[in-house]
């Protein structure tokens, strides 16, 4: 490639100015915390369930989790607005440089923070360095725990495997994983558009979470297209980004209450 990577990747003015390409807004004012996005994400991306003990010990594999805090004391107590937390696809992702094997590089094409499962050796540095704590690690082969299968004349079969999405890798033990903004859907849409000789239109496709959300609290699209719905949402005055002070350039904008 001819592009000077030194300039493209440079911290400072150039990247600073870049809006990013794919982005998301989450309206906390209407998010009802119903977990539909979590389920949809799990179904779309073959996210494993881990069972009661591991789940309680902090080994859930959720790529998106919904946070809820308390504010005040009874009877004036309020639950803080539900806050879906997923990979923010940072422009300057702290998780990226620390990986010794380039398992989580930045993709110039989508301007997303990729996770290359088959490259990962499981040092878990990226997860430590993620200020949002949205990376989940495969502590064991959750998909092939024997108890999930049935013994059918001598061989162990896993009926649940029929549900797995063929467009998404099933992760084995020792591999880090995280939200990918449903990159398989992005690519599918791009391929279709290309074969029809056109650009991908706004709202032509969306991520699994946004698609399921009954309240339509999640919007996904091109933040670098000013006319796209997502960038219009993002530029409201109630839009904020999490831990902005860390200058990781998150691509997810949260719309606060009020």
């Amino acid at each position: 490639m001819t592009v000077d990577l030194n300039l493209v990747g440079a911290k400072g003015a150039i990247a600073e100015a870049a809006e990013g390409k794919w982005g998301m807004t989450i309206d906390q004012d209407i998010c009802t915390g119903c977990q539909a996005c979590v389920a949809a994400c799990a179904m779309e991306n073959n996210v494993a369930f881990v069972g009661e003990e591991d789940a309680g010990y902090g080994r859930t594999q959720h790529w998106i989790r919904i946070e809820r805090f308390w504010d005040g004391e009874y009877p004036h107590v309020k639950a803080t607005p539900f806050q879906p937390m997923l990979c923010q696809q940072c422009g300057h992702a702290p998780c990226e440089p620390v990986c010794p094997v380039f398992a989580t590089p930045h993709s110039p094409a989508e301007d997303l923070n990729l996770q290359v499962y088959n490259r990962c050796v499981g040092t878990r540095y990226c997860a430590n360095n993620c200020p949002f704590q949205v990376r989940s690690f495969n502590w064991r082969d959750y998909h092939i725990i024997p108890e999930l299968g049935n013994m059918v004349n001598g061989t162990l079969v896993f009926p649940l495997h029929n549900q797995l999405n063929p467009d998404v890798t099933v992760r084995r033990r020792g591999v880090m994983e995280k939200c990918t903004f449903c990159i398989q859907r992005i690519h599918h849409a791009q391929d279709t558009a290309k074969s029809e000789g056109r650009e991908v239109e706004d709202g032509e496709f969306t991520t699994a979470c946004a698609q399921a959300c009954p309240a339509s609290a999640i919007t996904f699209g091109r933040v670098d297209h000013p006319e796209s719905l997502v960038s219009q949402m993002a530029h409201q005055e109630r839009g904020v980004k999490h831990l902005e002070e860390l200058n990781t350039l998150p691509r997810v904008t949260y719309l606060k209450e009020g």
Binding site: M1, L5, N6, V8, G9, A10, K11, A15, G91, H92, A93, P94, C95, E96, P97, V98, C99, F102, T104, P105, H106, P108, L249
Partner: protein
Amino acid sequence: MSEATLLAIFEDLDPAANAIDTLHEMGVGDENINVISGVPVAHKILGRPHPWTNVSKLSMGGAVAGFAFGIFLNFGTPHLYGIQVGGQYVTPIPPGAIVTFEMTMLFALLATFLGVFLDSYFPNYRPLEYVDEVSDGKIAVFFRVAEDDAKKFTDAMNTLGAESVKPAEARQL
């Protein structure tokens, strides 16, 4: 005419030094004398010429090679398959400094170690002239003289207080 290698063993450094002087006087050149000791003995104590060594040169060579390798790793390899991470330069200087430093040191140390092997022909399991007393702190002086003068030199050494003077024979260590 044939030559004989004699081996004189001394209890202490001073007689050994005198012995070497005497040998010089008696016309035995430094190239025909060798000293074996249980501890490192500086050449000036025995009045021997400064022994030559390549080790330091090799270390420097290693350092240079290591430096080059470090540079290659940090500034070469990324261009074989450039990947952006964390909005950093593909070939940043500060990590480069670390990589280069470590590689320089590693190669320098390796070269030094190998240098010792090269210079002193290690490992060497061929039979060699040697006496076990050396590792008990004795000083052994080898010198090569004409067959006929052997007697003369033996007496000279004995008068100088050599514990024993005998023709040295190479043996399996």
